[in-house]
Symmetry: C4
Amino acid sequence: MPTARLETFADGVFAIAATLLIIDVTADAPGGGLGRALIHSWPQYAAYAVSFLTIGIMWVNHHACLDQIGRGDRRFLFANIALLACIAFVPFPTRLVAEHLRDDGLRAAAITYGLTMTTTAVCFGCVWFYAAAGRRLIAPDADERVVAGLSRSYLPGAPIYGLSTLVALWSATVSVILFAAIALFYMLESSLFGGRGSA
Amino acid sequence: MPTARLETFADGVFAIAATLLIIDVTADAPGGGLGRALIHSWPQYAAYAVSFLTIGIMWVNHHACLDQIGRGDRRFLFANIALLACIAFVPFPTRLVAEHLRDDGLRAAAITYGLTMTTTAVCFGCVWFYAAAGRRLIAPDADERVVAGLSRSYLPGAPIYGLSTLVALWSATVSVILFAAIALFYMLESSLFGGRGSA
Amino acid sequence: MPTARLETFADGVFAIAATLLIIDVTADAPGGGLGRALIHSWPQYAAYAVSFLTIGIMWVNHHACLDQIGRGDRRFLFANIALLACIAFVPFPTRLVAEHLRDDGLRAAAITYGLTMTTTAVCFGCVWFYAAAGRRLIAPDADERVVAGLSRSYLPGAPIYGLSTLVALWSATVSVILFAAIALFYMLESSLFGGRGSA
Amino acid sequence: MPTARLETFADGVFAIAATLLIIDVTADAPGGGLGRALIHSWPQYAAYAVSFLTIGIMWVNHHACLDQIGRGDRRFLFANIALLACIAFVPFPTRLVAEHLRDDGLRAAAITYGLTMTTTAVCFGCVWFYAAAGRRLIAPDADERVVAGLSRSYLPGAPIYGLSTLVALWSATVSVILFAAIALFYMLESSLFGGRGSA
């Protein structure tokens, strides 16, 4: 089974999940004009930017994975569906964090966001390591160093998001800053060092 | 007429229908903080998961069908459009079941969900058996055993969903549990036995 | 300029416009339980079905057009963008007709729906006749009889929708029935006679 | 790294961003029937048309860019993700302009729209000039005159949108008319002169 239609379906879910984030961006503020409401709504733009970037990073990674994978089977498809269900869920905790950034619901919102990201990272690991174990679905001509490099790069995702989620029990604000920092760090690191690599 | 553009269009509808489900997930509860509201909203997450999984299973099946089909004609396109109209309808009964899981509207919601799924299964059957009858649209090099296996696997869908819908007349709760069980059973069965098969 | 990316973009807009129709389907009724509200909301399901079918028919036609077209230029792309803007507009008048089917806003809703469809048919004509005039963008190996057949089949679209819109000035209900009948007639005619043809 | 999946993902975001604009189109007016409400809502249709056209023009430009680009790297992907985040943001300022066209919030809405477009133009420049500098990612067989022509055509975008945004400090209405005029001018110029060119 070739992976072409999986790529179309996955690209669709990534594109829609990222684009749907804008539906929840509003400019409502108690009193004052539109200008004040727009400034007051900055958490929504920040949440939009971080989530769009995070979904974009996941899309780049999914892209890098499937480039090494030569074929799929039904278990691989279902692992991908579980991963895509997590990614399509991201607009919901994003909305929660944006709405509650300045009230006492932030802890619950941050934990929801963190659990979503941790689950997504776990599903991502399942997709990749199911395909890579014993080179089960890896394309015959894939470079073993690239495959090993991808395996190394996916190991830290779930623990990092899991620990950032635990931080929310102590300070929700620090936890939210960590979520933004993870996305920014990954993008900068990829941009500084990834430009020269093959992928 | 090749089926490439049908696949792009269908993948788009599957991806959007699955992703739109998140628009209806909210965290509203009478009184209490966000944490309590999130826990109170568990039927919405469960409904999201079951529906995303169900749409994902249908996408895998559509994928398996079209892999065997070599070309399309106008009737085949319209049968697919009817099928996609059913699949794009799924977010509506999903929302109904999630909203009414704990009130006396559950019976009507479960019947709506069940009728949608039964109609979808009937349309799926029409798409497949129109293409497979006398190998009308089947690719010349398709394996007859795979085609026969697909025909066998699509026969039980409509009766199973139809019976689960009838169960709602007796107990709406049992009916909803059956809908979730059908999706989980299919995914587990595919994952346990499908990994070894060719599709 | 090849037409591959135009097809991806167009398929995306068709798929999203059709799928977004479900967002506006609700089950709200004054008083009574969910069952009664669902039955009371039948105009919404009918509007969903007619509009999904209409967008589906337009997708099939766009498909048939582009199969004959070998390349695009910038004017052709902008004509397509105008056509897609019309198609993506369809969910709005659909919602209006569904909401006002039983009150005195139906005339305005039917005229809005009809003007949208008439404009869409005009844009469709512009896309096709710009490409077909003097075989400007037609693929060199395209069969002249198929091209002439498509030209004939696109001529009646705008007048039929325009006349059905004018009917709304006399009776909005008859006009709405005509809109549904046009979609059903086209699908039946295509299904009865199109199965045997090459497209 | 080939650019095929980037094109699918980008086409998805362009298609969804354009199509989502319809969600915000409504027909609400204080008092009067639906007919009057529809006429009163004309700013929404105008905003829909201008934004759909603007996103369409950007899609045509992205298309023209990627036709000259032979391969991507990670920095190029992230520049594209930043560009797509801007494009997916467009429905929000569009909604603001449409809602506030007749009240004193128009200045803030016009500045938001202008900043979004200016940022989008800057990101577009980053995508193109990163790829074109020293022909870093340009396809080996790309015509140098086409590449130079694209470079020339992308330079004025950001300054023109930036100046139109500054105009809003003096007159918000003039600024909004400029935004519409930019889109119409570009489309007419492309249609009058682009029909004969190769792209």
